[in-house]
Structures are given as C-alpha cells and as structure tokens.
C-alpha cells in the first residue's frame, strides 16, 4: 500500500511547493533581468576584454609564429599594418586605440596616427614603420599587444591592487607613481572605520538611555532618531553642505563658543565628510543596539551590584556581553554601508577624500574605462558581500527588525 501511496504524496508535495514559488517568480525574474544579469555582465568585463584580439587577428596569428619576446620580426609588422587598415575602414580603430591605451598610457594617439597612415599607403617594411612611429620599436608596446591577444585577462583585477605582470612573468607592484587603488581602498576602509566608531560612541549611550526611559518619552526619542533616518541621504548631505560652509552654521557656532579663533575650511575636507557620514549612519548603528538592549532586563545590573560588583564591573561582565550582538550588528551594518558611499564624498569630500565608489563612477563617466570600473566593482562587491554574509551568519542580524 505505502509503496503506491508514497510517490503520489511526493508529487503532490512538489506541486504544493511550486505554487508559492510561482508567486515569487515575477520578482525573481525582474531581479535577474535588472539586477543579477547587469552586475554579472559588469563583473565579467573585469576579466574578459576581447577588443585587442578582435582588432588584430592577423598580427596575433603572426605573433604566434614569431620567435621570441621583445620587438617581433617583419611579418608581424606587415600583418599589424593590414589589421589597422581594416580597423580604420570598419571604424573600430578608436575602440582598439582606447583599449590599448588603458594598458599602455600614451599609446592612443600614436596608434591612431599609424592607422591613418596605413589607410593611405601600403606598409613597406619594419624599419619604415618604426621610423614613422618609434613606439613600434619598443618592447613594451609588443608586450601590451601580446597581453591583449588573450581575451581573458587578469590585468585589470591586478591593477585594482596596484599589481601587474612583470617582464619576468611574475606578479609585482606597479611603479609608485601609478599606484592609486590600494591607497583608495585603504582610505575607504579607514573612513568607514572612523565613522563606525564615531556612531558607536554617540549611539551606545543614547540607546542605553532610551531603554531606561518611560515608554512615552522613549517613543518621542525614537521618533527623533527616525526622522533623520527617513530623510534621504541626498537631503541630509545637502543640509550638511549648508551647515559646513565657511560662513555656515557650524563655523558660527564654533566661533561663538570660542572653540576656534578663525573660520575652518570644513567643506571639501575629510573632517566635514566624517561629520556628515556619522550623522547619516547614526540611526543604522543605533537601532540594532537599541533592539537588543530592550531585551536585557535592567534588574540584572542591579542584581550584580547588590551582589557586590562595582558599577563598572557589573556593566563590563554582565551587561556588555549581552548587548554585544546588537553592537556588532549595528557596527557591521554601518561599516558595510560606508564602504559604498558615493553621494556624500562627491559633495562634501575633497579631492583626496574620494572613496572607491567615486572612482568607479569616474572610470565610467569620465575615462570610459569599463574594465577598470568593473575590476574595482568586483573588489568592492566582494568586500561588501563578504561582510554581509558574516553579519547574517554569525550575528543573525535581521536588517528589518529595526524600525
């Protein structure tokens, strides 16, 4: 009997679990189409860059026949000229020149000139071509071409860590004047850490006070915390640009209190940025701490003290361990969100306070270097998701039990 009934039961179960899933399908499809696929496509550009390989089929085939490293022999030069001539005719030469320029800065204008010449006259010899454009006689030019011949590349991901393949085939640091990204990541993590600690210093006592207030007053304080929480980051950043002006409110206040003797330059400074980010993130740190603190009975502290513990001991040994999950959750949440800050650094930070998101946007908007933007996105996303998984796995933080 059961051997007949069991399969039927299972199919019914499957159908029943399919129906709730079907309800979620439209949203999941939208997320795939408008979120997952775009991000996957973006990240793929960090490792897949076929422009050079597509533009130079003949030269790359000839390079494979060529003997060694360094500047290749004449057949490669002639094939290169033929490829450029075709690229020029098809209009794809701009793209190729730009792509090569990201690997070899300054190559762009030379390549475009070679292509123009190749379109006009037949290339004759290696010597003539090198004479016309000396860049072709340099080994580093051909190293860049050989690297670009491979459609899959680690160039951009390595660049995101200020690393590159050396001529000896090992991974080494890029020249000091080109090293930017480690410093930018370091700055992003530093500012995120400072902001996280500042919000903790402000939020912890307030959350503690709120748990000890009469419910009606605690409710009012909670509304005061939620008001800025509900105001958009842009509006709050706008408010801070007004406050931080040289003749703005904060400078007025500092002068009036006699804390400073002259007006400070707070706009476009790191101090201003950290103040504004601390203000914006404060509720994110506070709410998880508050929700955990509310679950700790206040009588425990008193019990510890009546058993002879000093106030500090009671706090350190009895209270803090219990509220630690909330503290860690709030801090991690703020830290994660700080890593992705974009608007506030643009509007309040100075040139040396731009965070990783600003560099990503700049590579897309100004430099049109999608590959570098993709590589930086990859590192940013990996750090963020890594911390998020830590947060949910180890601290069981539910993002939405806060409001």
């Amino acid at each position: 009997m059961s051997s007949i009934a069991l399969p039927r039961l299972r199919t019914r179960d499957q159908r029943e679990s399919l129906r709730p899933f079907a309800l979620a399908t439209p949203l999941l499809l939208l997320l795939f189409f408008s979120f997952g696929a775009p991000i996957a496509a973006l990240l793929s550009r960090a490792v897949y860059e076929p422009t050079i390989a597509n533009a130079l089929p003949r030269a790359i085939a000839a390079l494979k026949q060529d003997s060694g490293a360094g500047v290749p022999d004449e057949p490669v030069f002639l094939a290169f000229a033929a490829d450029l001539k075709e690229a020029q005719a098809q209009g794809s030469v701009q793209e190729f020149a730009k792509s090569l320029n990201t690997r070899l800065s300054g190559a762009r204008s030379q390549v475009l000139r070679i292509a123009r010449n190749a379109g006009q006259e037949q290339a004759t010899s290696k010597e003539a071509m090198i004479k016309a454009s000396p860049l072709l006689g340099e080994p580093r030019f051909w190293a860049a071409i050989r690297e670009g011949a491979n459609r899959f590349t680690s160039f951009f991901l390595l660049s995101a860590f200020d690393l590159r393949w050396t001529d000896q085939g090992t991974i080494g640091a890029v020249p000091a004047d080109q090293a930017v990204f480690v410093r930018v990541f370091g700055r992003t993590f530093l500012i995120a850490t400072v902001v996280t600690l500042s919000t903790l210093a402000l939020a912890f006592p307030l959350a503690y006070l709120m748990t000890n207030l009469r419910p009606a007053i605690a409710g009012i304080v909670l509304v005061l915390v939620l008001l800025p929480f509900w105001t958009s980051i842009l509006v709050r950043t706008a408010a801070w640009t007004v406050i931080l002006q040289k003749y703005g409110l904060l400078n007025d206040l500092l002068l009036w209190l006699g804390l400073t003797s002259q007006r400070l330059e707070l706009m476009y400074s790191r101090t201003g940025l950290i103040i504004a980010m601390t203000h914006i993130q404060l509720p994110f740190t506070l709410l998880p701490i508050y929700s955990v603190m509310r679950s700790v009975p206040p009588s425990q502290l008193r019990a510890a003290q009546s058993l002879g513990a000093q106030p500090f001991t009671a706090f350190w040994r009895v209270y803090l361990p219990q509220v630690m999950p909330g503290v860690l959750a709030g801090c991690l949440l703020t830290f994660i969100l700080c890593l992705g800050y974009y608007i506030t650094p643009v509007l309040i930070g100075g040139a040396s306070d731009q965070l990783i998101s600003n560099f990503i946007a700049n590579y897309v908007n100004a430099e049109l270097n999608w590959e570098m933007a993709a590589a930086l996105s990859f590192v940013l996303l990996a750090s963020t998701l890594g911390l998020y998984v830590t947060m949910t796995r180890f601290f069981g933080l539910d993002l939405f039990k806060m409001g």
């Binding site: 029943e16 679990s17 129906r19 709730p20 899933f21 309800l23 979620a24 439209p26 949203l27 999941l28 939208l30 997320l31 408008s34 979120f35 775009p38 991000i39 496509a41 973006l42 402000l202 939020a203 006592p205 307030l206 006070l209 009469r214 005061l224 939620l226 800025p228 509900w230 105001t231 958009s232 980051i233 842009l234 509006v235 706008a238 408010a239 007004v242 002006q245 003749y247 703005g248 409110l249 203000h279 404060l282 003290q305 106030p311 992705g340 608007i343 643009v346 509007l347 998101s357 990503i360 946007a361 897309v364 996105s377 940013l380 996303l381 963020t384 998701l385 998020y388 949910t392 409001g403």
Partner: protein, 276 residues
C-alpha cells in the same frame, strides 16, 4: 529608572553626564535636518543666519520654473511606476514566502534583500551597461525597472511582516466555502493585509523619489528627476532654491513614512486581533 533608590553622589554624576551626552547626540541628530527649512524661506541668497527676511521666492523658483517642474513631474512619474510594479511583485512574493512550503527560502530571502546591500554605484553602473545593450538606457521604462529593483525589498519585508499574523486557515475556509482562489485573495486576504501593502507601497515610493545614483547614470537630459536636479545644483552652483527643494523632499518623505508606519502598526494589530 536609571538611578538606584538611594543614589550616591558618583552615581548622580554618571547619570547626569549620560543625560548631557544624550541630549547633545539628539541635537546633533535632529538639528541638521531642519537647518534647510528656515533658510528656504530666506529672502536673501546666502546660507547664513540671521535671515535677511522672509519670502517664498525660492519655492516660486522650484515650483514655478520649467526646469524644476519637469524634474518634479519626472520624479512623480518614475515614483508611481516603480511603486505600482514593486508593490504588486513584492506582495506576490511575500505571499509566496509566507507559505511554509516555500522551497530554498534560505537562499531566496538574501537574494531578495541583496539590492539593499550591494553598493548602489555597482548596481547603477551594471544596469547602465546592460540597459545600453538591450535598448533600455535613457528610457523611463528602464529607470522604473531599476527603481523597482531597489524598492522591492521594502515591500517584501513590510508585507511579509503583516502576513506573519495572517491565519492561513482563513484561505482554506474560503475555498471550502466555494470561493475561487482569486476571490479568496481579494475578499479575505487583501483586506486584512492591506495596511501592510500600503505601507510597503509608501516605502517603495520614497525609495524611488529619493534615489539619485541610478538616475544619474540612466537618465538623459529630459528625464532628470528632482533629486538629480538637486545633486547637480549642489555640485555646480549652490542656490538657495536647493534648500526649498530639500525641504519639500524631506516633508514628503517624512509624511509618507509616518503614514507607512501607522499603517504597519495597524496591520500588526489587525493580524493580532484575527489570530485571537
């Protein structure tokens, strides 16, 4: 409650210091967001107190010039589009998730929440790149879809919360009484979870209405929204019109979110009452 029945002097000092610190923190938290409000009524064109005089000239700029009006119109269009889509899709998803038989919930829920965690620049740049390929860049549809993605987690979570108290036996009862699933949904389930749905819709609208990064990448010159107009204004030339726009945006967000929270509270109460 903070003081023990017979407080020592040291204890009084500690609690006093705690109060002073917390009042300062609250001042730091609340005062900045209200600073643009009086400045937006300034008749002068500087951001300084005391005000030169009261006037509504900056509101006339924001509500009267074509540039700002077009931006407000775009914001409302995109906001309503994204709200409708996010509310319908998010509510369906939340109903599916509330079924205990939902498969692979451990993986699906973090996936649904991930638009809130992924840095918004990464989302914006990725969407821009992908939409350019499929022909959705610089279209209202593209911006609405992108905003729907960012807003949907709020709907899923809010409606999900109002469904935790929903008694699934009610749906069985409707089908036993002969109602088709759709009738059961519209006549029994939806009225009970409606406050949660509306509250999710309000969150979704505010998310879209405040969003600037995705719009910055996806919008063309005629699709500029209110936040984008503010962002460029802040970047290029600071005009007091921005304080007026900020005040309007803040007023709308706070109003909608107060309504949303009252509705969410109501939906929890209804859920509780039905369960009893």
């Amino acid at each position: 409650m903070l003081l023990s029945p017979y407080p020592t002097a040291a204890e009084r000092m500690r609690v006093g210091a705690l109060w002073v610190w917390c009042v300062l923190v609250l001042v730091f938290l609340v005062v900045p967001i209200f600073v643009p409000v009086p400045l937006s009524f300034n008749s002068g064109s500087f951001f300084t107190f005391p005000l030169a005089g009261l006037s509504t000239r900056w509101y006339e700029v924001v509500l009267g010039t074509d540039r700002w009006r077009a931006a407000i119109g775009n914001s409302l269009l995109i906001g309503f589009g994204a709200t409708i889509l996010a509310t319908v899709l998010g509510t369906l998803t939340a109903i599916g998730l509330s079924d205990p038989k939902f498969p692979a919930r451990r993986f699906v829920v973090p996936l649904l929440i991930s638009p809130l965690i992924v840095p918004v620049v990464v989302t914006a740049v990725g969407t821009y790149l992908f939409y350019a390929r499929v022909g959705l860049a610089n279209t209202y549809a593209g911006i609405i879809l992108a905003h729907t993605v960012l807003a949907s987690p709020f709907v899923v979570v809010t409606v999900g919360a109002s469904l935790t108290g929903f008694d699934r036996n009610l749906m069985r009862a409707t089908s036993i009484l002969g109602a088709k699933p759709m009738t059961g949904f519209f006549r029994v389930m939806l009225p009970l979870i409606l406050p949660g749905v509306l509250s999710g819709a309000a969150f979704a609208f505010v998310t879209s209405f405040d969003e600037v990064v995705v719009v910055q990448f996806l919008a063309n010159a005629s699709q500029r929204t209110l936040p984008l107009e503010m962002f460029t204004g802040l970047r290029e030339q600071l005009s007091p019109a921005i304080t007026a726009a900020a005040t309007l945006m803040m007023g709308l967000s706070i109003l909608l979110l107060i309504v949303a929270n009252l509705l969410a509270r109501r939906s929890r109460r209804i859920a509780g009452a039905v369960q009893e």
